[in-house]
């Protein structure tokens, strides 16, 4: 009974196995592999966006349901070219490898360790708060410092800092410019749109006709990936996820980057289909991004100011014939160009209803 409590089984693995596996994985118990360990390539915590190798968690989830043999095969006799190259020379005993699998299985159960919150900024903020308190007390009661200007400067400086933090945070509120989360599949726009020159609208094909540009359905990916099964950077692991998703009918849960607030209604069709704007105008140099990043801050000011600067296809599009008087003015030269703003693009009702 005692033994069982101490070595309680989790999902069929003992604590000891898991601990031992962890040490192997992290290289604390070295095994013969060019001086590296698993963790050198397979991150435990996602930090490096350019690491094309699958993360520990991804591997864990993939192999959680599979038996040890397939796990072992992927390490010792991998199928993919890339994996064959990098995994060449791994030498680890079978029992030890089993503990690694146990460790990974356990990880798939409990999830990655939470990142401890860093409290530096808060500490700085509180420190300035304390400075304010001190300066006030000094000014009112202690009066120990001869040059009164010192506490006054400290007071104003601290208040300024706190004000700055608060206003910056307030502006950032609900914004996420630069947001570039890891995606469940290491999909690179650089590889697809940049290096291979695939047109944006091949995948996001509803951009011209619907409000939504559309995230391509997995069967669209399969148009190409039915043949292309191994990538130059990522090997087979990432592409296998697509195949797996289609075969098992498990939809891929992408993390959304561009989240407009729910009270904003945006239509891709108007901007791409009618105004013929380039995708890059808002989304930035997507063809250069390995990891998709939110380019613009998507603030209301950003929208509104673009409307103030951008010309409408006034003569080209038949719809604008309703604006008869403006056409007349254009004919006689009173009106050089029509900005989006001039036809009411900055009205509330255009986006909020």
């Amino acid at each position: 009974m005692f033994a069982e409590e101490q070595h309680g089984l989790i999902d069929g693995h003992s604590h000891d196995d898991i601990k031992r596996g962890e040490r192997f994985f992290k290289g604390l118990l070295p095994f013969n592999f060019k001086g590296q360990s698993c963790v050198s390539c397979h991150n435990l915590v996602a930090t490096d966006t350019l690491n094309w190798n699958p993360s520990a968690m991804a591997i864990a989830i993939k192999y959680a349901d599979r038996d040890f043999e397939s796990f072992k095969a992927s390490i010792e006799e991998p199928v993919g070219n890339k994996l064959t190259v990098v995994h060449a020379g791994i030498n680890i005993g079978e029992e030890d490898l089993k503990t690694v699998k146990a460790y990974l299985d356990n990880m798939a159960m409990v999830g990655p360790k939470p990142i401890k919150p860093s409290i530096n900024n808060l500490l700085i903020f509180l420190f300035f708060g304390m400075l304010i308190t001190w300066a006030l007390l000094e000014l009112i009661f202690f009066r120990r410092i001869k040059y009164r200007i010192i506490p006054v400067i400290v007071l104003l400086g601290s208040l300024g800092y706190q004000g700055k933090v608060i206003s910056e945070e307030a502006i950032k509120l609900g914004r996420s410019q630069g947001y570039a989360p890891d995606q469940p599949i290491k999909f690179s726009h650089k590889v697809h749109a940049g290096e291979n020159g695939i047109d944006c609208k091949y995948c996001h094909h509803t951009a011209e006709s619907s409000k939504s540009a559309g995230i391509p359905a997995m069967n669209l990916c399969m148009n190409c990936h039915v043949l292309i099964r191994e990538g130059t950077n990522s090997g087979k692991f990432e592409i296998a996820k697509i195949v797996n998703a289609v075969e098992n009918k498990e939809p891929v849960e992408w993390v959304r980057l561009h989240n407009l607030p729910d009270h904003v209604f945006f239509s891709h069709a108007i901007h791409v289909g009618v105004a013929k704007l380039d995708c890059q105008k808002c989304h930035g140099p997507v063809e250069e991004m390995n990891l998709m990043r939110q380019n613009a801050d998507l603030s209301m000011g950003w929208c509104v100011n673009c409307h103030r600067e951008t010309d409408v296809k006034f003569k080209e599009n038949g719809y604008y014939e309703s604006f008869a008087k403006m056409h007349e003015e254009m004919e006689i030269g009173d009106l050089a160009s029509v900005k989006a703003e001039d036809i009411g693009a900055n009205d509330c009702m255009r986006c909020h209803y």
Partner: protein
């Protein structure tokens, strides 16, 4: 030399006499303002002028700001009114100007009169804020003769003379 008086009239009398002697009175501390002294000290304040300019500046800023916001920056159609609704602007201009004048004048006052939070008072005589009228003369001043002055103070009814 410090002369302490019990009432306004004695102080004023002494003040006039000292001045007549040609001796410059350094400072007078009273529980309430006495116009004869304030005038007699020969000091002038330009706070009122400053306030006027603050007002002028404030009014123009407010009016200009509103014109910019409502006509240039983002004109919006409210109830079919023109963008430049000048009569509406006036209301806010008046009030906001008053606010600006008040705050800036207070700061000016605070700076010029050296009255601000945390200032330690240099108390010449503790009764000066209660019921005493205090006149301070500096011994280094031209025409200052201690004995003579003391006599003047005494004659005018000083209740206490501190040297």
């Amino acid at each position: 030399m410090v002369g302490v008086f019990d009432n306004e009239f004695d102080l004023v009398k002494a003040f006039e006499k000292v001045k007549a002697k040609g001796v410059k009175v350094d400072e007078v501390y009273t529980p309430y303002p006495i116009h004869e002294i304030l005038e007699g000290m020969g000091k002038k304040t330009r706070i009122t002028h400053a306030a006027f300019f603050y007002g002028l500046f404030g009014a123009l800023t407010v009016l200009g700001g509103m014109y910019y916001a409502a006509v240039i920056s983002w004109p919006l159609n409210f109830g079919g009114k023109p963008f430049n609704t000048f009569p509406s602007f006036i209301v806010v201009t008046i009030v906001a100007t008053i606010l600006i004048v008040t705050i800036t004048t207070l700061f000016t006052f605070s700076a010029r009169a050296q009255i601000f939070p945390g200032k330690a008072a240099k108390i010449v005589h503790p009764g000066a804020t209660d019921d005493k009228f205090v006149m301070v003369l500096k011994s280094g001043e031209a025409g200052f003769e201690a004995g003579e002055i003391e006599q003047i103070l005494k004659d005018s009814g000083a209740s206490e003379i501190i040297k």
